[in-house]
Amino acid sequence: MKSAVSVVHGLPVEVEVEPILAWRSWTLTGRRDGEGLLLRPVTAGSRAWRPREIAHATCRLAWSHEAPNADCSCGLHATREIDLLRRTRCPAVLGRVALWGRVIEHEHGYRARFAYPQRLRLICQFCFWQGSAASAKPDVVSWYARDLLVPMCVHHLGVAEANGMRPRRILPAGLVDLRLRETYAVDALVI
């Protein structure tokens, strides 16, 4: 159900009742035993998406408006197509998110006031950059300083170690992937 009701900053406003589903990626942190998993935006300094809690957009640049604002870049970002996420910084988790509240639709994505992941999957970011999400299945999750967790395939683990990125601990990707879905109470993302 939708209907044009008004105009905000020259943009038409419509009312709907179904959340929008879109693509998004995150970095991942957690303890060395794979517990305490937390999805974090790829932009440094942004607030983590906490398990079983609604992600709520805020604007750091202007306290005078609620996010998302049509004249700002604030809001919880997601893309219409998955391939656009291949340009994001250090993606460790790929997912489908539900967006609701005020949502500003852009040509290639969205900015929303509220969001929560619906389906999640770990990815090898190096395979994702070079190929596609479908071929980015990780074998292990490397645990680094500051609790950073980086899913990798065996090949790229070897490349990382050869270039001085030796993980402090290596966890099986299947275990972390399962714990992540249990933590956020979501389904597996099948691509």
């Binding site: 939708k2 009701v5 905000v8 943009l11 038409p12 406003v13 419509e14 009312v15 709907e16 009742v17 179904e18 959340p19 929008i20 935006p41 790829v42 932009t43 079983r52 809690e53 609604i54 049509a70 004249d71 700002c72 870049s73 809001g75 970002h77 997601a78 893309t79 656009l84 996420l85 340009r87 994001t88 910084r89 250090c90 539900a98 967006l99 609701w100 509240g101 005020r102 949502v103 500003i104 639709e105 852009h106 040509e107 290639h108 994505g109 969205y110 900015r111 929560y116 619906q118 956020y184 109470a185 979501v186």
Partner: protein, 72 residues
């Protein structure tokens, strides 16, 4: 390396260097879902066994009075 940034901030040099451009805004959608797509909070697990009964110390027995021997 890049992060997601809306098209309107392309003029910002910092954002231009790191942006994945989601393009220009097209419309505003106000979405009020009938039910929130968020799982319920994790249940707080109750103990599955009854708590142990409080141990009440038995009262000490009354001292037994020994009758005084009667003189013969």
């Amino acid at each position: 390396m890049a992060s997601l940034v809306a098209g309107r901030r392309e003029a910002d040099p910092l954002h231009r260097r790191t942006a994945v451009d989601i393009g220009l805004p097209k419309r505003v959608i106000e979405i009020e879902p009938a039910s929130l797509p968020v799982p319920e909070p994790a249940p707080i697990l109750e103990p599955s066994i009854d708590p142990l009964p409080e141990i009440v110390p038995e009262p000490e027995p009354e001292p037994v009075r020994v009758p005084e021997p009667t003189p013969r």
